[in-house]
């Protein structure tokens, strides 16, 4: 597999998002993603779904690369969208929640006080995750068939896969910390810590220049109001009875849903999930064993509920 030039990919993604259009029945041109970006900028929509069919039309190799290395491209897409968004803002957006207010104030403070020549510590500058108020999801190509859970193997790790099954259990929807915000009691600056996994170790000492240079040793305190949370739900899914070979037990799979994909499935529903198949290093279980075992899970981008009657429609199609 040839290494891809991510910078080049970013450029083509930019073009794709801003210029991709479909011809309507009336002959009117419709900018599919352009209009979604406008909505995102105005906070009217949170989840933007990139249809890989469209991307394949635009650039086939890019679409394949997205499927192969989905996680990386998710972050590239969201970076690109974050760059493009300010240009799509057509009117003033009102703050929707506390985090919006924080972000507004932070941006104001930064523009006022920041000295462009000054070096700022990585963690004191705003992480991109904090500022993004949207989510990116991929819709797989329509020709892709849904696999059964036992067909998804180690070779699929990192790729976008579609799986069909029945939900057996789901946890309640909980807020998950994505960026932890701390305030120092000495210098008053904010420190941010992006969190990528299910658990994190809090930072104690303030890394800002003031505290480090003066050796004032400020302690950090976690601010839940300034931190960013996303909705999080863990869903356990099991194979359909017709997918189980003779003499075997139905296999199950864990799905992690974030943001808008939560609350889409109840226990007992037949669903088609597409998402990225990833390994998870479970922390907290015996140091000796933790390293030896990884668990896998599916990070959901899309969940579609299908009823028994609709099964002949085939998976992956819009319900």
């Amino acid at each position: 597999m040839a290494r891809r030039d991510y910078a080049q990919d970013r450029e083509s993604i930019k073009t794709f998002l801003s210029e991709f259009c479909k011809c309507d029945d009336d002959g009117k041109k419709e900018f599919v993603y352009g209009s979604q970006l406008v909505k995102l900028a105005h906070r009217e929509q949170v989840l933007i779904t990139i249809d890989l069919d469209d991307l394949a039309e635009f650039n086939e190799s890019l679409a394949e690369a997205v499927v192969d290395n989905c996680r990386r491209y998710t972050s590239i897409f969201s970076d690109v969208i974050a760059e493009l968004l300010p240009s799509y803002k057509q009117q003033e957006v009102h703050a929707k929640d506390a985090l919006d207010v924080y972000i507004e104030h932070r941006l104001m403070m930064e523009s006022r006080t920041r000295n462009p020549m000054e070096q700022r510590d990585e963690r004191n500058s705003f992480p991109s995750e904090l500022m993004k108020r949207f989510e990116v999801g991929f819709k797989p190509v329509s020709t892709e068939k849904a696999h059964s859970i036992r067909e998804v193997k180690a070779q699929h790790i990192g790729k976008l896969v579609t799986v069909r099954g029945i939900v057996t259990r789901c946890t309640e929807v909980k807020p998950m910390m994505v960026v932890a915000t701390y305030t120092c009691d000495r210098c008053g600056s904010e420190t941010y810590q992006p969190v990528n996994s299910l658990s994190f170790t809090p930072v104690h000492d303030c890394p800002s220049d003031d505290c480090r240079v003066n050796k004032a040793g400020g302690r950090l305190y976690l601010q839940t109001r300034g931190s960013k949370f996303v909705k999080f739900q863990e869903v356990k899914m099991q194979e359909h009875s017709d997918q189980v070979p003779v003499g075997h037990i139905p296999r199950s799979m864990t799905i992690m849903c974030r943001g808008e994909v939560t609350r889409m499935a109840q226990p007992g529903d037949h669903i088609v999930v597409s998402g990225v198949f990833l390994p998870l290093m479970r922390t907290g279980f015996a140091q000796m064993i933790q390293g030896l075992l990884s668990e896998t899970f599916l990070q959901a981008h899309r969940i579609i509920c299908i009823n028994k009657n609709d099964e002949d429609f085939g998976p992956g199609m819009q319900s």
Partner: protein, 605 residues
């Protein structure tokens, strides 16, 4: 070609041997090589060190999801030198003091392995256990050198000792899942509350005859394992105390019960990393070459099948009130097996209902079972009382809280006989569980399939369990063959003495003959050649002319019976004699059914 390789004694040795996989395969295929390996079923855990080579025989009761583990990883030591460590066949990471694992090294390889929850053969009768124990090499504690360090006794509430499972005093059928849930308000240092009881974890199909359990991890050929099959595993034992989820400080209470079920104490349920697997065609240890048979048995000469058949038939006749026909049918039942399966049918099954048992014989069924117990390697006797039907778990059910397939009475290995005693049934009401129980039994008898409940759907698993129902009147369960007993009046009076005489007759040498005979007959093949099909067809047509009601089922029954009668007499091909014998027997059986007083239940045949 004799194999010059020796069995590996540590996982590292095995890793070296796997370079020459053909030789390793040959080594494992040779059953005599397995003689020296201790059987985990009969060796107490405190005599075995971690990572020793052991064997475990049992039935696959549950299969877990795949695990991804580090097959090869780089270890860095304090002075900067690196080495590559193999992770296969181990649970814990192996490092010397001062070494650290480099999780991000390029050379790290991840592999996949599956865990099977294997229980020792449920319903294995005492003589089989004794015999297997005799064949098992004894381990001398003194020769081990050092005493095993890990504590056998745990301080955790509710924990029981590892191997003393047979002495469990619980006779209830209920499976207590949550013993006690104490929320610890004390700080670190107090013992954690033990949420899952050891009975629940061990998950024996027959709660009053508990089995030992072992979690076997297999590394290849995952798809060849079938649920409820009998397998013998050879591999490395893993009993490190850190494997126990209950000892850890887990704050995540959500998955606590699931974690505990997936990682029970290794002293209760040891782990075995298997590299050698043998699927067992039957549970009879006398005929298993991979067990070192005691020398006395090997030297005896073995009489012909026909002679043994005559003796066995005579014994059964004695036990069955001198009824010759009943003896023939019971013998056929004891050697029956499902030898072929088509889409709709399981061919070869022989569920037998011996009805019309004399009413005034006290506990006859239990006494008859005592004789059967001595002859069969695995069997289970079940009185069909209301209490049993209403409370026992019959079919396995998946518990989604702990992600475990909770076992039931009907989850038995192939060829485990089930003897149901309806004579102990009383008047009363069958509750929901009881109704389901009867449905499950009926489904098992008719299709030889076991329905497992996965909450959103049910899956059928193939079974091969011969069912014998003993009843006074007609049974409430279906049967392939209903045979009313014509008890000789004098025999009824003398039944107790007859049974005692039968016990006397069963000397050890004769018992061995009978036991071997039954298993050999069961596993032997049988052919029906073309020339006989004509004869069969003609006879069947004649039968239909005589009696309009006879149908394809009758023909099927005749074929099954004639096959079994032939095999019983030591034949391996079909011939006219056995066919005629079968038709004769079936005619007599039908006559007897006709002669029974008409009761409310309508039964087929």
């Amino acid at each position: 070609m004799p194999c010059t390789m020796e069995l590996p004694s540590t996982p590292d040795e095995l890793a070296a041997q796997q370079a020459d996989s053909a030789a390793l395969k040959d080594l494992l295929k040779d059953p005599s090589r397995w003689h020296s390996i201790p059987l985990l079923n009969y060796t107490p855990l405190h005599k075995l060190k971690d990572q020793t080579l052991v064997r475990f025989r049992g039935m696959i009761q549950d299969m877990m999801d795949p695990e991804i583990y580090l097959e090869r990883y780089e270890v860095k030591s304090a002075d900067g030198s690196k080495r590559v460590q193999e992770g296969k066949y181990r649970d814990c990471l192996k490092m010397a003091t001062g070494e650290m694992i480099d999780y991000n090294a390029d050379g790290n390889v991840h592999g996949e392995r599956r865990t099977m929850f294997v229980v020792s053969v449920p319903g294995l009768n005492d003589w089989s256990k004794e015999h297997e124990k005799q064949c098992c090499p004894q381990i001398d504690l003194a020769s081990l050198g050092q005493s095993p360090s890990s504590a056998k006794k745990r301080t955790i509430v509710g924990e029981e000792e590892a191997m003393d499972v047979d002495g469990a005093s619980e006779t209830t059928f209920k499976r207590p899942c949550l013993k006690e849930i104490q929320k610890d308000s004390e700080p670190v240092g107090a013992s954690k509350s033990f949420v899952l009881g050891s009975e629940y974890l061990l998950n024996s199909p027959l709660p009053d005859r508990p089995s030992m359990a072992c979690m076997v991890k297999v590394y290849d050929e995952f798809d060849t394992y079938q649920l409820n099959s009998l397998v013998d595993f050879v591999g490395f034992l893993s009993v490190d105390p850190s494997l126990d989820a209950a000892t850890l400080d887990i704050d995540d209470c959500e998955n606590l019960s699931e974690l505990q079920a997936a990682h029970p104490s290794p002293f209760l349920i040891p782990r075995l990393h298997a590299f050698g697997v043998q699927v067992l065609p039957h549970a009879n240890p006398l005929l298993d070459k991979s067990l070192r048979q005691p020398t006395e048995i090997c030297e005896e000469s073995y009489p012909t099948q026909l002679a043994v058949h005559k003796d066995l038939r005579m014994l059964l006749k004695l036990c069955l009130f001198d009824d010759d026909l009943a003896a023939e049918y019971l013998l056929s039942h004891l050697i029956s097996t499902v030898y072929s399966r088509s889409e709709m049918q399981s061919i070869g099954k022989f569920a037998l209902n011996l009805c019309n048992l004399p009413k005034n014989c006290e506990a006859y069924a239990t006494k008859l079972y005592q004789i059967l117990e001595l002859l069969l390697p695995a069997s289970h006797y079940m009185p069909m009382t209301l209490g049993t039907l209403n409370t026992a778990a019959f079919a396995p059910k998946k518990d989604y809280e702990t992600n475990k397939l909770v076992s039931g009475v009907l989850q038995l290995a192939p060829h485990t006989h089930l003897v149901l005693d309806e004579t102990s049934m009383q008047q009363g009401k069958l509750e929901a569980n009881g109704v389901h129980a009867v449905q499950h039994l009926a489904h098992l008898i008719n299709n030889q399939e076991l329905k497992c409940d996965f909450q959103y759907y049910q899956i059928d698993y193939q079974a091969n369990i011969p069912v014998l129902v003993l009843s006074e009147g007609r049974s409430m369960l279906p049967s392939d063959f209903v045979l009313p007993i014509n008890a000789d009046a004098k025999a009824v009076e003398l039944v107790d003495e007859s049974l005692k005489a039968a016990h006397h007759y069963l000397q050890p040498s004769r018992l061995q003959q009978f036991r071997k005979y039954l298993t050999t007959a069961r596993t032997s093949g049988f052919n029906v050649s073309e020339e006989h099909t004509e004869m069969i067809q003609q006879d069947f047509v004649d039968m239909r002319k005589a009696n309009v009601k006879s149908n394809a089922d009758d023909l099927h029954g005749l074929l099954v019976l004639s096959r079994l009668l032939g095999i019983a007499r030591g034949k391996d091909t079909f011939d006219k004699e056995t066919w005629q014998l079968a038709t004769e027997f079936e005619a007599k059986r039908r006559q007897r059914i006709q002669a029974l007083p008409k009761s409310s239940a309508q039964m087929r045949n």
